[in-house]
Structure formats: C-alpha cells, structure tokens
Subunit: 343 residues, 3 copies
C-alpha cells in the first residue's frame, strides 16, 4: 500500500509515544508488514512471535511495544507505545480517511428516495439506491450504490452500507454499524409445516435488529423473526457468507467467522467465538464466552466458557486425544488380531 | 409483533372453529409465542410439547387443537380447531397482507423494461429492475428492487422476487414461487477440461427451471445445465446460501436447509430432507424420502427412505453408536495396553 | 438445448477432423449427452467410460476420439479428432455466441459512469451499472446490469461481469476473466484486536488482484488485503459461494469448488484442487498440486502433491482405512469385552 502522508501528521496521532532514532524522511509513503516493509514505510510489531523480524525490518518507522528491547537502525525511527495493535488501528483509520475519502453527503441523482422517508442531511445515499416509505437514515451514515432500504426500515448514525446491501421492511440497524456488500437483513425465515405431505408456509412477520458497532461480512444473510426480532448484539463481528436463521439472538462482542450456519431460535450469549463453517442446530443456547472450533457441529446447549470441536462436538482436549487415537486404529486392530490369535 | 386488527376479521377466518371463553377486546394487537404473548395478543399451540405453557399464557386469544383439555383464563378466548399450525399460517398471511401491503401493480418509473418484454398489467416491477428482451412476467407477480430478469426469461403468476434477485437468460420460474433477496438462477456451471495443464472452459448452454410453489432462500445460487435444464420440483423449499450445481434435478416437496452444497448432475428424488451444511458429490442419486443429517458428506447413491449422518455418511443409528464408542477410545486403548502387559 | 445451426458451419470449425458416415441433415438442431441426444443433435464421447453408449446414441453427429473403434449408424456422422472435450468446448462457444449474443458495446442509458472513468469504446456497460471515479474498463469487456465498479478499480480486456458484481475501490481484474452474478471483490477483511474486551477494528487498506483467465462463481466473496493484495493467479477457477479471506494468495490453474472457506493469509500454490466445503485455517501454505477432499479441514501446511481428507485432515488412504475401521468399532468393542471376560 503506497501513498504520501506528512510524517508530522502521523506522529501527531501519538503525542505520548516514546520516539527513538532519527530519519531524514518528511513523508510516510507506505505501510506494510515487518517482512515486506521498505524504505519510507511504516511497520509495527503486533505479535511478539515476530520480534526477530524487527532487527531486519527495512521500514523507516516502526511501532513497537513500550518495553521492546532493541535499537533503531540507521535512518529509522522507533515509536514505543502501550498497545501497538491499537496504534495501528488508529493509523490505518487515518490513512483510510485520506486515501478512501468518504462519499459526499446528499442523495445521488440516480437514487430513489420515497417522499415519506427521512434522510439526515449529513447522510450519503449512493447511486441507484432505493429508500422506501417511512424509512429513516441517520446522520453521517453512508449508503453506497444499489442498496435497498425497505419500507419503515431504520439505519442509525455513522453507519456504512456497502454496495448491494438489502435491509428489508421494518428492520433496524444501529449506530457505527458496517454492512459489507451484498448483506441481506430480514429475509424470510425457513419455517414450514407439513400439511398432507405439502410444506405449508407460515409467513414470518418479525424483523431483524442490528445493535451498535456490529460488522457483518459480505453476502451474509440474517432472517427475520417469526413474530418478534432476530437480534445481533452490540460489538459483535460476523464474517462473510454466514447464515443466521429466524429468531436467533446473538449477544455482545461475539466473533462469528465465515460460512458459519446458525439455525432458527438459537441463543448465543456474549463473547462467544465461533470458527469458520461451524453449524448450530435450532433452539439451543451457547453460554457466555464459549469457543466453537471451525467446522464443529453443535446440536445441544453449550456451557459458558466451554471450548468444543468436532461433530458430534466434544471438549477440545478430548476431541484432540480421540483424533490421535483414531490414527492408531490400524495398529490397534492389528495388535488386537494378534492377541486373539494367541488366545 | 404489534399491530391493530379487528377481532371479528380474525374470527371470520375460522367459521368452523369452536370458541370458548370471553374477552372484552375488539382488536387483536399482537401475535407472539405462548411464552412471550401479552394481553391483546394471539398465540397458539402448534407443538404438544409446549402444552403446559398454555395454562400460564397471557395471550387474549389462543388457537388450540380440537381435543385440547383445559379452560380459558379470565378475559381469554380459546379457539379450537383441527390444525392449529395451518390456522396460524392463515392468520399470518392475513396479518402480512395488512401490515406489509403488496407493492402496487405497474412498472416503477426507475425500472428498465425492454420493449419486447411482456409484463402482465397486474404484475409489479420495482425500482431499478431490468427486464430483458422477450422476457415474460405473469399476473400478480411482484418483482422488488434491483432485480435482473434476463433475455427470454419467464416468471409465472403470483410469484415474488425479493430485492436483487438475478434470473439469468432463458431461465424459467413457475407460479407461486418465492425467491429471496440475492438469489442467482442460471449462473455458469463449474465444468472444465484439463487440456495441457490449463483448465479449459466449456460454456454451459442450458437453463434453470423452477417449478411451482418453490421457495429459495437469500443468496442461494443455482447453476444452469450444461445442455438442458437444472430443475427444482414443485413445492420444494431451499434455504439461504445453498449451492446447486449444473444439471441437478431436485424432486417435489424436498426440504434443503441452509448452506447445503449439491455438486453437478446430482438427482434428488421427492420429499428428501437435507440438514444444513450437508454436501453431495456429483453424479449420485438420493432416493425418495431420504433424510440427510446436517454436515453429512454424501458421496454415493442413497436408498429411498434412508437416514444418513456423518462423513463418510453412515446410517444414523450406526453413526451415533460409533460416535459413542469413539468417546471411549481413550479407555479402550488403556484397557488394551493393560491386557498386552498381562500377556 | 435446441437451436438451428448450419451443419457446414460446425464442420468448418474442425477442418482436420476425420469424418465417417453420411446423413441427410443440413442443420444441427440440438446438442445433448450421448444418452439424451435425438435426431438432429450433436453429441460427443468425452469420457471413455461412456463408450458403450455410443452404439445406441441417436445423435446425428458424434464427436469421438481419433482411435475410437466403431462405425456410424444409419444417417449418422462420426467426427474423429484428437481431443473431443476440446472440440466440445469450441462448439459450445460457437453455439453460445449464436444463441446468447453479446450485449452491444456502449454505455446503457440507465448506467452511471463517472466523468473521470475511462471506458473503452468496445466495452459494454449494462443497465444500472455504477462506474466510479478514475475506474478503467478495457476493450471488449462486458459488464452486465447492476454492477458496481469502485473508484480507481481496473477491469482488463475481454472480461465478463455478470449482474450484480461488486468490484470495490482500487481492485484490479485482468483479461478474459469471468465474474459470475453477485461476486464481491474487495470486501473488508475480518481482522480485529481485542482491546479491553471490545473487538477493535483495524481498517484494511489493501486490494484484490484477479489475474487473467480466472473465473469466479456466483456470490463468492474475496476480501481485500490488510496492506497489500489478496491475489488469485492466472487460470484459477473458483466456484460459487466461496470465501477467500484477506491477504490470501492463490496460485495459477487451481480449482476451488463451491463453498470452500479460506481464512486470512493462506498461501495456495499452483494447480491445487480443493473439493467443496473444505476449510483452511489462517496463515498456512498448501503446496503445489496438492488435492484436498470435500469438507476437509486443513489447519497445517500441506506438502506439494499431498492428497488429504477429513478433519483433522489425513492422507487420503489413511483416512479411508480409518473410516473402514471405525465402522468395525462396535465389533471391536464386543470382541474386546469377550477377551477381558476370558482373562
């Protein structure tokens, strides 16, 4: 990633950082990992397992933990601070604002906004967006191209909807929410009753509610509730291509990785972490802080703090032990045949 | 879900229901589960395992099976009927029509309809829709915003296409079909021939055919056939984010849950039920009424009526028995070592 | 698939083919598999396991390997050539061009093209497309309806973007690339740092690069890199609903089947083949030519040429042997109990 930003602007973001070394650049011209950085770049040590790379790193500016032992090279500056990962986030946000400028506020001439909709004057409505009747769009919210905001839907402040997002009728999205391209909120739940061999549809009347600071990945789908609300709690981050069924309740600060499937009426408590491609059967509860490994299949309630793996899911240590023993099955069968022969 | 509907209109839907009890409400103001219902709400007993909740349910109106034993509470009406689930479907449809009114018939001024396309005068074409040359849209069909109906594609009567649906060239959609947001019908099949190390593309010339009363979930993709038709049979319901490969034939009244993957040329017979995230290898046949558990991996033909689980998939009882024995492997290895030691 | 094409035009595609037999048709009226073909159709023998079907095939024109033993039936022509699969690809491309004519070059009146964007005069920009500032669209490239080409994005020559594709800011797409409907390139990577219990976002500043001759399936998502590039190598074919995380590097001529999930910073070398629904943990390398079975879970580096299956993944022969032994576990436990009883 190459650009040109005044070094003094970057340093100004961290007035309390300790600086070491000197360099003769006035501009930061790139940002890269320790391994890939070159002259003029900024890099950082976020994970201590990479600390040996600092010595050979060619970046001109290095963000390091406060207690890092080592000296800057020639024409190199070390910036020491409490939390390099946080610092990186701040810098990346700064760079993003410079190189990916926000769309202008206002309604694009190709957008269609129903006359009963309320759009804050600081919001931005992109090309070919549809904003339905009685919809509401809050301040500083950016809605990029081809989005559909259904009748009566409500989007809060400082949120960003990437191209092609669909927020269907009456659904609610909070503040500082990011919905990536192609997200669908409020699709019809999958609920049918067998009546004389046919699968009879029961229309789903509820909505989806997305609380503040939630991020949802590209092409992820969240079905609306049967009567009430499917809900994603504050600060939860959902990755791409995830399926969230009707009536699901996800708590706060959860991490749900790509392609996870959550069947209807599941309750996921706060701070649960779910690995990619894991699946949950309907009507179960996942306790606070539980961890679910990738591709696990969860069909029963999970206790708070548990760490499960596999399908059927087992405590991770047992699952790993069984995996090792399975590899020894050919040997076991051979040894066993020998004993039987010896009888 | 809150609203306000005349009680007499609701009761009028069920002239043959037995009513018990009295209440002093003229309006139904909500609908909720037995557990969540409050005064003014309607609720219902669809599954007998919840029958104890009826006694404490605060709903003003309760739909119950004809033979339910119990009396209404104070200011509460019991409606007894043959099939409460069916009744609920009827009521939800009635409520949906009231609170989610259908878009008006006609073509939205922002839509683009090719001059050779035929759109029934009772159909509704939403904002920013594209209707290609020689396409046909039947009576009372609703096409919401940002849909693409390709050249020569045909959509039947009384169908509903949610925002962002793509029905590509020449594909056919029947009557009373629901396509949720972001569905893709007719994408290119995944078929390549290795020629001198390169993967050579063979264009797929076929189409997708969706029969009547099919529902397809958000962002699900169905590839067109190599030469002929990929086909989804009448009454089949497919959930979100499902992959259906080229040439696949799905029978009638199947249920295919979210994130299932079906490789090319699979044949699924009538009334098959497939749990979420299950996968099917190409060129196999799944017999009528078979059940496939979630996350199962199916690589061979499945007999009619079979119930399989796991990967490799096994009859469900064997799979469950093996799962139990696997948990005992650590113990088995220990006991075995002991016997060997004793020899 | 029915149509009407002059037989001489088809035969003209293969001047070096050997022909045998005669028929009294001047037109080719369809194309079908050996099993389904009828009079007037063309069919072909691509896979020798179907060679017995040639004898009973009713097609009027049959493409066969040069060394095929057998004579044409009455009113039937055999076309012998080196590589029937390649010939089929050539014919299908020819038919596709006839029956699915390319959209006209030029910009559809409903599209929005930023005044700073450069669109080649031979390119086609479809209805309701958005082309951002400083974007570039190469020669003969077709962009169908509802696509979003972000600011600074670059699409090469002879590429085809199906409806609803989103190529986000600054991403690069090469020549002869096919992006199926709903593809998202450049969505935000899933990268968060835990700071005081909250998941803090680090904006992702990089892009996605798609090299030449790549095909990507419907609704597949590829996240942009943290700083640099997520990259898909020349000739690689990715199926529908695949997730590719940030910083992923996929080599040349790989095949990645539907619903595969690839976590951040994975490196996949050339000619790797990945079965459907397989998953990869982050930061690992998959060696050249490796094969990964469907639904496998890969959490460690994979050696070049390896063939792995299962989760945890094992060499395919070991995995199959263990699968067989697992089915014998009930028997083993019984026999074991007997031995213990006999002690």
């Amino acid at each position: 990633m190459k650009f040109k930003l005044k070094l003094s602007d970057i340093l100004g973001l961290f007035p309390h950082a300790l600086t070491q070394g000197e360099c003769n650049y006035d501009y930061l011209t790139g940002i890269a990992s320790l391994e890939n950085a070159t002259e003029g770049d900024l890099s950082f040590l976020g994970n201590l397992k990479y600390k040996l790379q600092v010595r050979t790193c060619k970046a001109s500016f290095l963000i390091l933990p406060i207690d890092f032992e080592g000296q800057p090279g020639e024409n190199q500056i070390h910036l020491r601070m409490e939390d390099p990962s946080h610092a990186l986030a701040v810098i990346c946000k700064f760079i993003e604002d410079k190189i990916l400028p926000s769309p202008k506020s206002g309604i694009h001439p190709t957008a269609f906004v129903d006359e009963t909709a309320v759009v804050d004057s600081t919001a931005s409505i992109g090309p070919f967006c549809f904003i339905g009747s009685n919809a509401f769009i809050g301040s500083n919210t950016q809605i990029l191209s081809h989005c559909h905001i259904g009748d009566g839907a409500r989007i809060g402040n400082d949120s960003k909807l990437h191209p092609g997002v669909k927020v269907l009728t009456r659904c609610k999205v909070g503040n500082q929410v990011i919905l990536n391209a192609g997200v669908v909120l409020g699709s019809e739940g999958y609920g049918f009753d067998q009546v004389k061999g046919e699968n009879l549809k029961t229309p789903h009347l509820g909505i989806v509610v997305i609380e503040d600071k939630v991020e949802i990945g590209a092409n992820t789908c969240i079905d609306r509730a049967r009567f009430d609300e499917s809900r994603i709690g504050t600060g939860t981050k959902i990755d791409n291509l995830v399926q969230v069924g009707h009536n699901v309740q996800v708590g706060k600060d959860c991490l749900i990785v790509a392609q996870v499937g959550i069947a209807g009426s599941v309750k996921i408590e706060d701070q649960v972490v779910v690995g990619g491609q894991a699946g949950f059967a309907g009507h179960i509860t996942i306790g606070k802080g539980a961890k679910i490994a990738g591709q696990a299949g969860i069909t029963k309630d999970v206790e708070a703090g548990a760490f499960l793996k596999g399908n059927p899911a087992l405590p991770v240590q047992l699952a790993q032990r069984i995996a090792i023993l399975q590899r020894k099955l050919p040997d076991l069968f051979n040894r066993f045949a020998q004993i039987e022969g010896n009888k």
